[in-house]
Subunit: 365 residues, 2 copies
């Protein structure tokens, strides 16, 4: 859940993209350019596996306070860049800042995930603000602005939000569950109330991303971590359509916005993202076969992923083999190297170094 | 995990199947016969949503003792048959009886899932028996024998086991986890030890199913509940190959054995089960689009599934619509109606009645 953009240009297709953004390999990949060495960043590249992060984290006991303190969030965002020289930095924040800014109480029990005051019915929804408290989110935009100023020019800055379905599933359940059953059941029982919640999240998320672009994000990623638990009709209604709506709204105000969707667990339903205007890249989870993704998604879509985070924990020859398999699986397509899910806390730092070296072709490491 | 077979004939294809088994609509569907009204049974059709089960369950404090007491297991198996007249009864037992019979300590904390003494390394594996303690499993076979005697002749009896990957993932972690990460990591770090564990489970499971057929099972289902968390190469090695090996071993000794594989979460990798000799049907999970499964799997494979268990909890018009969608999604193919996952404890009994009536075309209910 904890995850770590600069609208400097880039239209649809690489031709209309200004040179400034193409100097960043990450943005060139998003613009559809196939590169010999794919740009690389990792979901949760900032976080507990880094000793310097664990030290920094002690400076604010509450996790949301940490996210809302630009000095700390900027530092957390930049730590993995300094260590590994990734091609992109991702804003250090959390997808649940949106419910927080809508007035729902959010807290993080240490090691136990988020806790929210669950929305049980239409009345619970009515208690939420119609628009996020942008004042509350001002530190996020300040963080982006400050990271941007510090970031080497060849590196991109990624902003993000949670997808409406995933965020709503936490808002309904009040926590993470094995399969987000409470929200699925709520959506069956009260489809109209649930649709209103999703609509509110579409509006809030689109405006949130638009403001992230204005603050310096080069690209944004929409995390739909719980896309995989829905039957096909619900997947279409609660995952695909809201992401499409967000992309359209963002593009309407920020025509050159670069966007990535990460519908984790989409499996055989991946092709439903094939035609989404405004989505430049699809993030692929660990279970997705790169060749299946290549077949399911049109050539203009950049593919991002999808090393198993546990292969990164294992390291050694197994890691090398997996890197090789992924590099060759995406052969011929614009590709951004990433994990299929976030870096886990047990990841040895030297395995990440080895990964970056392998992807960049330093095979002797 | 708690889930509730009779080799009376049935060859490959419906022509060679003796009439005796085709009198059972469930077996006719497994033999590839498309029926106007699909046969129906539900995963976890026996269990906590039934008041008579909750009463029965109090008679043995430990869950495995309950499973190993034929009088109780027979009654639990038959309860949903009496109430709903499903087309098949499924043995009341648990996939973890195999680790138990291999000498690994298994217990069930109430409401908290299974606990096993985790296998940490090659030494832990060496402590297990090479072959299950069949004495320990004798009550399972007695249960099948007794259920068979009580079951109306038009109803089939299903036996089952867990797939090696899923069972191994509990044996390594000692419990269920959100993504069975401990076993995935173990398999990366110690592929040879893990392969030996999988091989042992293949042998034990094949012999276990063979004995279930001998005891009266008409068909068996192999539950791979955790198939969805593996990358493609691991999916092939730890899910597809072991299930294929079990099916081949069972078929070698019981040529007319009918078998169903349920690779939950297989998503876009479903097609890898297309060519498995010995697997007559594939169970589909909730997230699978029936039309995608129809396209991915050859016509000779019977499709089983895949109503969302939460639509069954919701009931009413939403349930009716989902039933309609699934019935029409499998149009033209041999189909066994089921859920995409097990019945949950919150399921109202009258929703199950409504479901059975709808599937059987009593639209006025």
């Amino acid at each position: 859940l904890r995850l770590s953009g600069d609208e400097t240009g880039g239209g649809i297709g690489s031709i209309s993209a200004p040179q400034a953004s193409l100097a960043k390999p990450f943005l060139a990949a998003l613009a559809g350019e196939r590169q010999k060495t794919p740009p690389i960043w990792l979901m949760r590249q900032a976080g507990r596996y880094l000793p310097e992060y664990r030290e920094l984290r002690t400076r604010a006991p509450k996790f949301l306070d940490f996210c809302y303190t630009p000095a700390l969030a900027v530092e957390a965002t930049l730590q993995p860049i300094r260590r590994f020289g990734f091609d992109a930095a991702i804003l250090f924040s959390d997808i649940l800042v949106i419910p927080d800014a809508l007035g729902q109480a959010v807290s993080f029990e240490s090691g136990d995930g988020p806790r929210l005051d669950p929305i049980g019915d239409a009345e619970g929804l009515a208690k939420l603000r119609h628009e996020p408290n942008w004042e509350r989110l001002a530190p996020v935009f300040e963080t982006l602005d400050r990271v941007k100023a510090d970031l080497p020019k060849e590196m991109a800055l990624i902003g993000f939000c949670g997808a409406p379905w995933t965020v709503a599933s936490y808002m309904i359940a009040g926590r993470g569950t094995p399969d987000q059953a409470p929200a699925r059941l709520f959506a069956y029982r009260h489809p109209d109330v649930f649709a209103r919640l999703i609509d509110r999240l579409v509006d809030a998320s689109a405006e949130y991303l638009r403001r992230q672009f204005a603050a310096g994000a080069d690209a944004t990623q929409i995390f739909d971590s719980w896309a995989g638990v829905l039957p096909p009709a619900e997947f279409e209604r609660w995952c695909v359509r809201p992401i499409k709506a967000i992309a359209a709204k963002v593009r309407a105000e920020t025509p050159h916005a670069r966007m990535i969707a990460f519908p984790r667990g989409a499996g055989a339903q991946l092709a439903k993202f094939a035609g989404l205007a405004g989505i430049d890249a699809i993030g692929l989870d660990t279970a997705t076969d790169p060749r299946a993704a290549v077949a399911a998604l049109p050539e203009r879509v950049t593919l991002q992923g999808n090393l198993d985070p546990l292969a990164l924990v294992a390291g050694g020859r197994r890691l090398d083999e997996e890197v090789e398999r992924i590099m060759s699986g995406f052969q011929g397509r614009p590709h951004i190297f990433n994990l299929g899910h976030g870096v886990v806390p047990e990841t040895p730092v030297d395995h990440v170094e080895r990964l970056v070296a392998r992807v960049r072709g330093q095979r002797s490491t």
